[in-house]
Amino acid sequence: MSREEIRAAVLHALGEVAPEADLAALRPDVPFREQLDLDSMDVLNFIIGLDQALKVAIPESDYPRIATLSSCVAYLEAKVSAGSSFVR
């Protein structure tokens, strides 16, 4: 899966929890929660969306690593390319 495909999956999952957001205007290095007014239920639903789309295990302890668009895509890219041991 390419970086662009992962980025698209992240934006799709975000769009599901914040349908009114202008995702094209998302600043890549600012936390989602600050830009999109996400609460803890939104964050959980976002991670469920990523889990369903990418089949990648994201432990709760790694939530800080997916806080921004840049870090989230980099984290998921590493997980996907690391192979099946990280894929649930």
Partner: protein
């Protein structure tokens, strides 16, 4: 037309989901109604055959209006009227109106049929008339009267203004060490698939529900100038809508649900609240509201009680703070919990004990 709270005066029927001749069971969704709180699905409150529809799509009718008739085996019962579990609503007829209120209604040009009385045995009071008159005047002066966000803001404003006008609030707050609860939560979530993970809100809600068992006077409605304890602990959950506004559907019998079950129901309730698919009964049955603004960085929430309830619990953000444990200062996750309560019903002493009970319960999260 069911009442979805003390602030609702009328609703517009959008669509019948059942037709004359259809069998309906108690709890079946039978209609969709547009209210100041958004589109709400109305349930049948009895089982039988839908015999006759009395309100057509597009019609706006006052709370308490009979919308359809359901024929039971022995009797014909009105359908889609206020559910029994809901807050008291004025029936269409007969209506108790004091002579003074009737005269005031004439002076102000207010239609008495559209008023939900708050006086003794549901009687319409002068205050009810004047409240409706104020509500009727304000929207006509507002250009965005047809805008749903403006209508919702108006409904929230009416309920909160009434609360602040009529309820002598008192406020208490406490700070709770959530160390045990957060450690338990992390341990649980480590071994769970993502869809089964818990959020701290589930634990907080369960602790409030269980604490209410020991403080039933806080799980009550103020009706006809007295507090009426409610048989079920139905926690209203304040949900902020992304388009603006607030809605408070209830998790019914929350004390009887496991934390997992509460989490599933909370997820479903929040999704339906944001998607506009709530049921009338869920908006009318709350017995105490819980609100949390911790995700927005707020330290303490001092909320306004939602009538006819007599108390509200607020949670702030969960944050690491220096905390003294056996003489040592340690970083601990703590949260502020607050109580807004009606002084006509309880005193600060009982309120303080209630907050302390929540604290005790959260120290043993595995037992929730």
């Amino acid at each position: 037309m069911p009442s979805l709270g003390a602030d609702m005066a009328a609703g517009t029927l959008l669509e019948w989901l059942k037709q004359p001749g259809d069998r309906v069971a108690r709890g079946d969704l039978i209609a969709e109604v547009d209210t100041d709180k958004g589109v709400i699905q109305v349930e049948a409150f009895t089982t039988g055959t839908l015999e006759r529809i009395l309100v057509e799509p597009g019609q706006k009718v006052p709370v308490g209006t009979v919308m359809a008739l359901i024929r039971d085996d022995a009797v014909t019962a009105p359908a889609a009227a206020p559910p029994g579990a809901g807050p008291p609503a004025a029936g269409p007829l007969p209506q108790r109106v004091s002579p003074l209120a009737r005269r005031r209604a004439q002076e102000l040009g207010v239609d008495l049929a559209s008023i939900q009385g708050t006086g003794a045995e549901g009687a319409v009071t002068v205050a009810d008339v004047e409240r409706l008159a104020r509500g009727a005047i304000m929207p006509t002066a507002t250009p965005a009267v047809d805008d749903s966000a403006a209508r919702m803001r108006g409904a929230i404003g009416a309920a909160m203004a009434r609360s602040k006008r009529e309820i002598p609030h008192y406020y208490l707050s406490n700070t709770i060490d959530l160390g045990p609860a957060m450690a338990w939560l992390a341990e649980q979530n480590q071994s769970r698939p993502v869809a089964d993970r818990l959020v701290a809100a589930a634990l907080l809600l369960k602790s409030v529900a269980l604490a209410l068992r020991d403080f039933p006077e806080l799980n009550a409605w103020w009706v006809n100038d007295r507090a009426v304890r409610q048989p079920s602990i139905n926690l209203g959950v304040a949900v902020s809508l992304r388009q603006g506004g607030l809605i408070v559907p209830a998790l019914e019998a929350a004390d009887q649900a496991s934390v997992d079950e509460l989490m599933r129901r909370l997820t479903d309730l929040v999704a339906r609240a944001k998607g506009g698919a709530l049921r009338a009964s869920e908006l009318a049955s709350g017995t105490l509201t819980v609100t949390s603004l911790g995700d927005r960085g707020v330290d303490i929430v001092l909320g306004v009680i939602y009538p006819p309830q007599v108390a509200l619990v607020g949670f702030g953000r969960i944050a690491e703070r220096p905390w003294v444990v056996q003489g040592a200062v340690l970083p601990r996750p703590v949260v502020s919990v607050s109580l807004s309560a009606d002084h006509r019903v309880t005193d600060g002493h009982r309120g303080a004990l209630f907050l302390d009970r929540i604290d005790q319960l959260l120290r043993e999260p595995g037992a929730l």
